[in-house]
């Protein structure tokens, strides 16, 4: 189908964007920055078009539904949200220096969707449990939250890279010179997490409302529910440490990496535990 062909091309476009952002970091000429942004934007537009085409194709197959209904579609949307989030950030702050860290995550999600064995890229009909208006709002809010947390995670990685470099002053310092200052990165981590936290909260709540209609209870301690709560608690601890205890820098960066690990487990790991959220199984 045409949409999956476009999407596999988009994977390469994101890889190219990543390479251009690397060139920008190493060579430092603004030319590469412009190319990198243009490439990422092209990828986003093509991906959006592919998603719309996929949506329409599902109607032609006779069971039209938004392309957010299986593991493949969720990975694609995850990548889309990461790129969208990053480009909005770049446009608002005019800072291109962290693209080389964020873009590859979107590339990996896209590549995993098309390469990993057993990921079914066909449009499948909706089983009765997924036939709900809450599907869209639940999946969209959750994955916007995941994208924001991914952004914070990338910033935390940059923080540790820079922080280590500061200690042994010498080599490759030139490379990291262009990255934002540690204080700025700290603020970026916080803002990513604050936004992600709101999205995750709304995501859990829309999920609860849906569960109330579909499963007969707003909370059933299904592993995915439980892990989303664990993720929520980790980020809640982070926000309290920052607001009240005044934690900054290293500790916050570390907590945001732990939080992201929990996000990944909520997304992928939970599928290996028995539970109600079986729609995403490979």
């Amino acid at each position: 189908m045409i949409n999956t062909i476009i999407l596999s091309w988009v994977t390469f476009v994101y890889f190219a964007a990543f390479v251009f952002y690397l060139f920008l970091m190493i060579i430092g000429r603004t030319f590469w920055g412009k190319i990198a942004t243009a490439t990422a934007l092209t990828g986003l537009i093509a991906q959006t078009a592919a998603l719309i085409i996929r949506w329409r194709e599902s109607y032609e197959l006779g069971f039209g539904h938004i392309p957010l209904a299986n593991f493949y579609e969720s990975l694609i949307f995850f990548a889309w949200a990461i790129i969208l989030f990053y480009l909005v950030f770049e446009w608002r702050t005019k800072s291109k220096s962290i693209g080389a860290f964020v873009i590859p995550i979107a590339f990996l999600a896209m590549a995993y969707a098309s390469i990993a064995p057993g990921v079914n890229n066909r449009i499948q009909p909706l089983i009765p449990a997924l036939q709900s208006n809450w599907l869209t709002s639940h999946v969209v809010t959750c994955f916007m939250g995941y994208a924001a947390f991914t952004f914070a995670f990338c910033c935390a990685l940059i923080f540790f890279l820079k922080n280590r470099e500061k200690k042994n002053t010498m080599k490759s310092a030139v490379l990291l010179e262009k990255l934002p200052s540690l204080a700025t990165i700290d603020i970026l981590i916080y803002r990513g997490i604050a936004l992600g936290f709101i999205f995750l909260t709304i995501g859990i709540m829309t999920g609860s409302v849906w569960a109330h209609y579909a499963w007969g209870s707003y909370w059933s301690w299904d592993p995915k529910e439980t892990w989303s709560l664990i993720t929520w608690i980790i980020y809640a601890i982070l926000l309290h440490s920052r607001y009240v205890q005044g934690w900054r820098g290293k500790r916050i960066a570390l907590l945001s990496i732990i939080g992201f690990a929990s996000v990944l487990f909520t997304y992928f790991g939970v599928n290996y535990l028995p539970g109600l959220h079986s729609y995403l199984q490979l």
């Binding site: 089983i127 009765p128 709900s132 709101i198 439980t226 535990l273």
Partner: protein, 462 residues
């Protein structure tokens, strides 16, 4: 005495305790997803020494989320939240009440140069421009004339100071909703065979049956599939009866529960009922002699009184060869048992020798009779989840509270701003100052933005 009290107070109002409790709750939640809970624990029991299993069961490890440990932690968290909030609320309240006044002169002290504009505009028109700009971005604009200057002040997002306490309150409301649900709520399930009615449900996690104040009948069960065989819709047409009278009826689908007298019914599962009914045609010497609708256990006489036919089994799909009934024809001397398949012609086509190899598959085994399974009405049962949870609206209210609190904290930061416009010889000097308790970089951005906008407008007027 008072010293001891303050020690308790400071223990319960510490954020460290909050972080510790949250971490502990998270750890218990993790364990709960790794160790099988409730029904799943039975499997584990076979791989474990009975003593250890018994000990773990007594410690409620197999029902962690409903264990006394978990409830205790939640109770501590609630106490911690209350103490923390009461401890800090007065400060927040003070900040919430403290409106900016044009008389606060010290905000202009040590003002960075980029927040000062010198313009050739006269004082009055500069003041008008500044006032209109501030009105657009802030609330409660106030104005005061001092010596040769005029000072404006305004603020926004004052409610942000209360956001944290709204979120804390929402968590207490959540806990209250969950407690109400666990005390007054119930959860059960029931399966109803198409056409039949029930008046009791099985309660979950106990062996008790709960009588309902009404009865439920399933008039029809409909199952639709996509072309590839995955289920598309399943639906039960339910009627709620009081005595013999239908009081309410409706269609029950997945994602569309039905509520009656506080009980919510959910379409949870379905299956084939064990007692379908089959229509048999009995032939004698190639002639149709009778039709008979039979169910499991039915007995009827052959038309010529040669014997009695017993219906031993009725299967909707036997060995993937379609509907079949097992009959036994009993006479005084013998008993002949055989299967009657609906699709016998198809089966014979696939394997022409089957009748000789397996006499049990021969519907003409009892001569001179020959049985044909004309049709079989499949009967479904519908599996319903039944719940009643008066805590749900409370939890809903908590959700609304939490979201509004979070929005206040993150998207509506509290900021106050002052603009002082004074004559300086021929020119006019404009100073822009701000105050914020949190998010200083955000305040700096906003002040730079306002300064830039003001410069632009002053240029335009000229």
């Amino acid at each position: 005495m008072s010293k001891k009290k303050s020690a308790v107070w400071s223990f319960f109002s510490s954020v460290k305790l909050a972080v510790f409790l949250l971490a502990l709750i998270a750890i218990i939640a993790v364990i709960g997803t790794l160790v099988p809970q409730r029904e799943g624990a039975a499997e584990l029991a076979r791989h474990m020494s009975p003593g250890l299993f018994f000990f773990l069961q007594k410690m409620q490890v197999f029902d962690l989320y409903h264990s006394i440990w978990f409830f205790l932690l939640m109770g501590f968290l609630a106490l911690n939240l209350i103490f923390c909030s009461l401890d800090r609320l007065p400060f927040a309240w003070h900040r919430f009440r403290r409106k900016p006044s044009p008389g606060d002169e010290d905000v202009f002290r040590d003002l960075p140069a980029e927040n000062i504009i010198i313009t050739e505009q006269d004082q009055n028109s500069a003041a008008a421009i500044a006032a209109s700009l501030m009105k657009k971005r802030f609330n409660c604009l106030k104005q005061q004339e001092v010596k040769n200057a005029v000072v404006f002040c305004a603020d926004k997002g004052r409610f942000s100071h209360l956001g944290v306490y709204i979120v804390h309150l929402s968590i207490l409301v959540f806990i209250a909703g969950a407690v109400i649900g666990s005390i007054f709520g119930l959860e059960g399930y029931v399966s109803i065979i198409e056409g039949e009615k029930v008046q009791t449900i099985n309660l979950r996690n106990s062996d008790t049956m709960l009588p309902l104040p009404f009865s439920v009948r399933c008039d029809r069960f409909v199952l639709e599939s996509y072309n590839d065989g995955t289920p598309k819709t399943y639906r039960s047409d339910l009627a709620f009866l009081k005595g013999e009278q239908i009081v309410h009826h409706g269609k029950l689908l997945v994602n569309h529960p039905l509520t009656f007298e506080g009980f919510r019914f959910y379409q949870a599962s379905y299956g084939l009922a064990p007692d379908g009914r089959a229509v048999l045609t009995v032939m004698k010497d190639g002639w149709k002699t009778m039709h008979k609708t039979v169910g499991l256990g039915d007995v009827f006489d052959l038309p010529g009184k040669e014997g009695q036919v017993h219906v031993l089994r009725v299967e909707g799909n036997l060995m993937k060869m379609g509907p079949a009934v097992k009959l036994s024809v009993r006479t005084d001397k013998s008993e002949t048992a055989f299967w009657v398949f609906a699709q016998i012609d198809k089966i014979r086509e696939m394997n022409p020798q089957i009748m000789n190899q397996l006499p049990m598959f021969n519907p003409g085994l009892f001569r001179p009779y020959f049985f044909v399974l004309t049709s079989m009405d499949k009967k479904y049962y519908t599996g319903l989840q039944v719940s009643r949870d008066p805590g749900t609206p409370v939890v809903g209210a908590a959700a609304v509270l939490m979201i509004s609190g979070l929005f206040l904290i993150i998207f509506m930061p509290a900021r106050q701003m002052w603009v002082r416009i004074e004559r300086e010889g021929k020119n006019t000097r404009i100073m822009i100052a701000g105050r914020s308790y949190k998010n200083k970089p955000g305040l700096a951005r906003e002040m730079n933005y306002v300064t830039g906008k003001l410069k632009q407008k002053l240029e335009k007027v000229r």
